[in-house]
């Protein structure tokens, strides 16, 4: 057996080499200061909080509209809030945390676009179709990194940076180039604040989406999402729980978490889609087993 006749043999080594090269680079890129001597407490022992909601409480209406738009997938509201933040940037009207909310709002748009691309292509809002992923994500990254430089002690901006890198991932190659950067940023956020529920959610997303050779572990993702769902009632944690249970054909659990998501944001289109999927599949499963609920 040699690598010319069996090219598949060398693939794991290539992946390992790429990871070995890119991880330290990514850590350096986000200024990660992870102390390996101080591991975070086990997930179950942490009491999580939601820094985005907490920061929004001290912000103005425009910033709060960003957060609401992201949660509801309300694209017009989100775009209007982003436009206001961009308009007041550099003026006397700007607020100290504008770039944090701006970066959050813009990456939120990319995540909503991803949902429509994957699940509801026909219903994609036209303004999202026009967004060019790479240039929009790069501009968002600049905003976030500018904020991170100006606010090195901010507990949540590295999480936002991690989400931007994650949003740039498309396919295996994207995973190999952007994945380690996203991972490093999320780890930096968790090192700074192990109780950051949104950063734990991002870690769960990596465990959910990554292939197993790159650290993917759907069972671990489920534990992380459940903890986030329980502690901070975050809509994305509920949506991921609904997805995992749908994928495992455990439809009553999927329906429960879709309902939990809709309790947070009743008009969220992903929640509505997952609920109708779960209801239909659950009914079909019951009729196949010859029962009725």
């Amino acid at each position: 057996m040699n690598w010319r006749s069996n090219p598949g043999v060398v693939a794991p080594f290539l992946v390992a080499m790429l990871a070995a090269i890119s991880l330290p680079v990514a850590h350096a890129a986000v200024g990660s200061k992870i102390d390996p001597q101080k591991p975070a407490a086990p997930i179950q022992e942490r009491k999580l909080h939601n820094p985005l909601i907490e920061n929004a409480k001290n912000a103005d209406d425009t910033s709060r509209d960003v957060v609401a738009g992201v949660i509801d997938y309300d694209v017009p509201k989100l775009e209007a809030a982003i436009a206001k933040l961009e308009k007041r940037a550099g003026t006397t009207d700007s607020k100290p945390d504008d770039d944090y909310f701006l970066a959050q709002g813009r990456v939120g748009l990319l995540q909503i676009k991803r949902f429509y691309e994957t699940d509801e292509k026909d219903k994609m809002p036209p303004s999202l179709e026009k967004i060019d992923l790479d240039s929009f994500a790069d501009a968002t990254l600049e905003i976030a990194q500018r904020y991170a430089q100006a606010h090195p002690d901010h507990s949540d901006i590295q999480r936002v940076i991690g989400e931007i890198y994650s949003a740039k991932i498309r396919g295996m190659t994207g995973g190999m180039t952007q994945g380690p950067k996203a991972k490093a940023a999320i780890e930096a956020a968790l090192a700074k604040d192990p109780q950051n529920g949104l950063a734990l959610l991002c870690q769960g997303r990596m465990h959910y989406h990554n292939p197993s050779f790159a650290g993917g572990d759907k069972n671990l993702a489920l534990v992380e999402f459940r903890k986030v769902a329980q502690d901070i009632d975050d809509i994305r944690a509920h949506l991921y729980m609904a997805r995992i249970y749908r994928d495992r054909e455990m439809y009553s659990q999927a329906r429960f978490f879709a309902k939990k998501a809709l309790r947070v944001a009743p008009e969220n289109p992903e929640g509505k889609l997952l609920l109708s999927n779960a209801e239909a599949a659950e009914a079909k499963q019951k009729s196949e087993k010859g029962g009725s609920r």
Binding site: R226, F256, G291, R293
Partner: protein, 149 residues
């Protein structure tokens, strides 16, 4: 000796071994869960193993599902939920009491699945037990009680 075997034959053998390994690991990973750990009341039992018990023929399985409900604190929430799903599938009226005892559980997900299990069991006794959940503090639980299907 091995060198004398034609290359094409060796390649075929290698492919066959690979496919067999993949098939065996696939069987373990997808849907062929046994419920041995359930029968041993092992707290490390998985969701899949508990759910597999839903359609198991042995009546003894129901007692082990009740054990999970009665020792709720020893098991992860996901396992208790899976036990309630399996109990709902078995439709055994002996499960009504153990389900009812979870009516005051702190966890909304568990109480919601209690409602589902009672509805699946059906009959006057289960309907009476369902009444306990009609005033639940969670709107999701109350809605599920009120929903006909």
């Amino acid at each position: 000796m091995i060198a004398r075997i034609p290359t094409s034959l060796r390649r075929s053998a290698r492919i066959s071994v690979t496919l067999a390994t993949l098939a065996l690991s696939g069987l373990g990973a997808f849907g062929c869960a046994s419920h041995d750990r359930l029968l041993e009341d092992d707290v490390k039992v998985t969701e899949e193993e508990v759910l597999a018990a839903g359609s198991a023929k042995s009546p003894d399985v129901t007692n082990h599902l009740h054990h999970i409900l009665d020792h709720r604190g020893d098991y992860d929430t996901s396992i208790v939920v899976a036990a309630l799903v399996a109990i709902g599938e078995r439709r055994d009226t002996s499960s009504i009491q153990p389900i009812s005892r979870l009516g005051s559980d702190e966890n909304e997900e568990i109480r919601w699945h209690c409602v589902l299990a009672l509805k699946a069991i059906g009959g006057p006794e289960a309907t009476a037990a369902l009444e306990r959940f009609a005033d639940d503090k969670s709107v999701l639980v109350r809605d599920e009680v009120a929903a006909r299907n």
